[in-house]
């Protein structure tokens, strides 16, 4: 019996070691003190920010702008952080997350596109030309959070699988609304010429560094959007990190692990689930606003339900609950298809096969490593540092005695 169990675990660990590139890295990270974490974090993000300028040959994406790829990555990373709050922290499977992305993007588009009847840009408009995009970002986040509230209030009484299907339905309804309400959203033709930040206007770049006219060289508009997105992402990371360590975060973990037990212990589960939903939605809206600004065009087909699945892949791949892990997941989800875009194998373009590979990755991961590549580690969330001190003090006194 014991022998059998032993061989079973050794087999498991072999498979797990193969799928766990990050365990050593995480141990090192957990061992660092807080100032050291900040130092290495700033260094890490600094290196990341410089990547598009000094792109090493082996990670470059041939045939497609590397800056643009990184901009897409940072948008999906923000989405993954938002979805991670909902799925990873609170354990609510949301399959319609793309709906929030769409709401965020359409809010900016409707307010600033000349095709829209609600356009507030222009001579008589409410927004100034230079600051239109930036002032739309908080509006987009607020509108999306409100959408999350409206969606969450009735549906969060449902549990697990039902919630997944209802959110899937809502995601699809939002896309169909965008498609069908053609008086407002211009239907499947989409909305054009959305505002973007007018910064760094010069003779060469009449519309600034964020315009699609800035398309040559390393510091093209994709790179600028990547930098902007990276800044916003760091802000979101700090916000979500603080939430995680707060009472709210502990309530989420309790709900995720056992909703009934949490309820019995006095956690207002509905309230905290709703908070998770609303915060996640707001973050999704932010990413949508970034997307609308960069592409300057939104159309319903960009918000197909399959994107929701892709976001979910990023979260599950990176490790549900681990906000740094899901950023890595987002990187894989965006980078690999772009990297493999021009690679052909047996007459099939490998870039086309992304959904096939991601599907396979999901299935294999769920069997061998359901917690993802960089799983979150349960720790003493509330009193971690003081508990650690207490323990070490106890050890010291024992050693002295």
């Amino acid at each position: 019996m014991s022998h059998q169990a032993g061989s079973e675990t050794s087999k498991n660990t072999a498979a797990q070691r193969l799928l766990a590139p990050g365990d050593g890295l995480r141990q090192w990270w957990d061992g660092l003190g807080r100032p050291a974490k900040w130092l290495f974090g700033i260094l890490g993000f600094g290196v990341l920010a410089l990547l598009p300028l000094y792109t090493p040959g082996f990670i470059d994406t041939p045939g497609i702008s590397f800056g643009g790829t990184m901009a897409a990555f940072v948008m999906i990373a923000i989405i993954a952080i938002g979805l991670n709050v909902v799925v990873g922290q609170a354990g609510l499977l949301d399959l319609g997350y793309v709906g929030f992305y769409a709401v965020g993007a359409y809010t900016v588009a409707l307010l600033t596109s000349p095709d829209s009847p609600w356009n507030k840009l222009g001579a008589a408009g409410f927004f100034s030309k230079d600051w239109a995009w930036l002032s739309c970002v908080p509006i987009a986040m607020a509108v999306t959070a409100l959408a999350g509230l409206i969606l969450g209030t009735p549906t969060l009484r449902l549990r697990g699988d039902y919630l997944a299907i209802v959110t899937l339905g809502f995601g699809e309804i939002i896309r169909l609304l965008a498609d069908n309400l053609s008086d407002v959203t211009n239907g499947s033709r989409g909305l054009n010429q959305i505002a973007y930040p007018r910064v760094g206007e010069s003779d060469r770049l009449a519309n600034g560094v964020f315009s699609s006219g800035n398309s040559t060289g390393h510091a093209n508009y994709g790179t600028w959007w990547f930098w902007l997105g990276l800044l916003l992402m760091i802000g979101i990371l700090l916000l979500v990190g603080n939430l995680e360590r707060s009472r709210v975060g502990r309530a989420w973990v309790a709900i995720r692990e056992d909703e009934d037990a949490a309820e019995v212990m006095g956690v207002d589960t509905f309230k905290f689930k709703l908070w998770a939903f609303v915060i996640g939605a707001g973050i999704g809206g932010l990413s949508g606003a970034l997307y609308a600004g960069q592409v300057q065009y939104v159309a319903p087909t960009n918000f197909n339900i399959i994107n929701s699945m892709l976001f979910l892949v990023a979260v599950v791949l990176g490790g549900q609950g681990n906000k740094l892990g899901v950023i890595f997941g987002a990187f894989i989800v965006v980078y690999l298809p772009n990297r493999l875009l021009g690679v052909h194998l047996f007459g099939v373009n490998l870039g086309d096969l992304k959904y096939l590979f991601f599907g396979l990755a999901l299935v294999v991961l769920m069997i061998f490593r359901p917690q993802g590549l960089f799983p979150v580690r349960q720790q003493l969330l509330a009193y971690a540092s003081s508990a650690k001190k207490l323990l070490s003090k106890a050890d010291d006194s024992k050693a002295a005695a």
Partner: protein
């Protein structure tokens, strides 16, 4: 209000075409019902939303097409074949059996490859659902990109050239609604299959095993029911019915054979299962019919482009008002 222009509110259209809409809705509902049975049985036994069931249905459509095209030798053309009533029925029966075999074996294979390893590891319910989503991706993309490499002219980004075996033709009228031969075939075959399934679940020894596992799998195992075999049978039955539904669907929509063609129908069939009470066989059949009819009414009132929205809104409303569905949950308790 600006928005109002895109939504009709045409109640007269609903009243005027009521019976025609009902008849057409029933033929849609029959297809939903057959697919919904697959969802409901698996949910009853495993508590799992088999998200990849829509892809089982999609494979059934390709199975139908393969059978008609290669085995029976029909070449795709814009015109309908006219082979006489008897011969057409024989051809359809052969194609249906082939499609059922394709879908049935795909469903069992899916269970074997994806879900069985998870059960052995006692995975959490969410893990099952994510696996199901993954398999749904894999099957869709297989047909999208790999199948064209294996069989020339199959799969890929475009729908298959339609093979039309039955030209829709009015047969008779009832309450002023014309009933076409396609509707007749769909409703009749769905009725027969539903009846057979109901008998299989409620009257046979295997069916008793399924109900026992659905009710309490541990006790059922103690009573000598092989849980694994029951689960496999459940997937098989769901797959067979999805294959049959696929053939009926291609009669109605011959141009709908495409890799992504199962997705929406799958979600609607799942909604139908929830509507009737998921886990409940008769509930799934009833829910399918109701969804098909309601969708048609909604389409008449609000406009064609809102058809899918009607289905989703219905699903959401049902889950909010009565999450257990019309006939209540539980396969085991349904026939107490």
């Amino acid at each position: 209000m600006l928005m109002a222009a895109n939504i009709n509110f045409n109640v007269d259209g609903l009243i005027g075409g009521f019976w025609q809409l009902t008849v057409d809705g029933l033929s849609w509902g029959a297809i939903y019902a057959l697919v919904a049975v697959g969802y409901t049985l698996v949910f009853g036994v495993l508590r799992l939303i088999n998200f990849a069931h829509s892809e089982i249905f999609m494979l059934g459509m390709f199975g139908t097409y393969f059978c008609l095209d290669i085995i029976l030798g029909f070449t795709p053309s814009g015109n309908a074949y006219n082979k006489g009533v008897l011969l057409t029925i024989v051809y359809l029966a052969i194609a249906m059996i082939f499609a059922m075999l394709v879908s049935g074996s795909a469903a069992v294979g899916l269970e074997f490859i994806a879900y069985r390893p998870l059960r052995r590891r006692n995975a959490r319910p969410l893990t099952f659902l994510i696996t199901a989503i993954g398999m749904s991706f894999v099957l869709q993309e297989f047909v999208h990109f790999i199948l064209p490499q294996l069989i020339k002219g199959y799969g890929g980004s475009n729908a298959q050239q339609p093979i039309i075996l039955v030209q829709p033709k009015a047969q008779f009228t009832i309450f002023g609604a014309t009933v076409s031969n396609v509707t007749l075939v769909i409703v009749a075959s769905a009725l027969v299959l539903a009846l057979l399934t109901d008998i299989a679940i409620n009257r046979t020894k295997f069916g008793r095993g399924i109900r026992a596992v659905a009710q309490d799998s541990t006790t059922a195992t103690l009573m000598g029911v092989s849980r694994e075999r029951i689960i496999m049978t459940t997937f098989l039955i769901g797959g067979l019915l999805a294959g049959a539904a696929a053939l009926l669907y291609t009669l109605k929509v011959p141009q709908g054979i495409i890799y992504s063609g199962g997705f929406l129908l799958g979600i609607k069939a799942f909604s139908a299962a929830v509507l009737g009470g998921i886990g409940n066989l008769r509930g799934a059949l009833l829910g399918g019919l109701i969804l098909g009819v309601m969708e048609n009414y909604g389409q008449a009132v609000f406009g064609t482009q809102w058809r899918d929205v009607v289905a989703f809104v219905l699903l959401v409303l049902v889950l909010l008002i009565r999450p257990t569905g019309i006939l209540g949950e539980s396969l085991g308790k349904a026939r107490a």
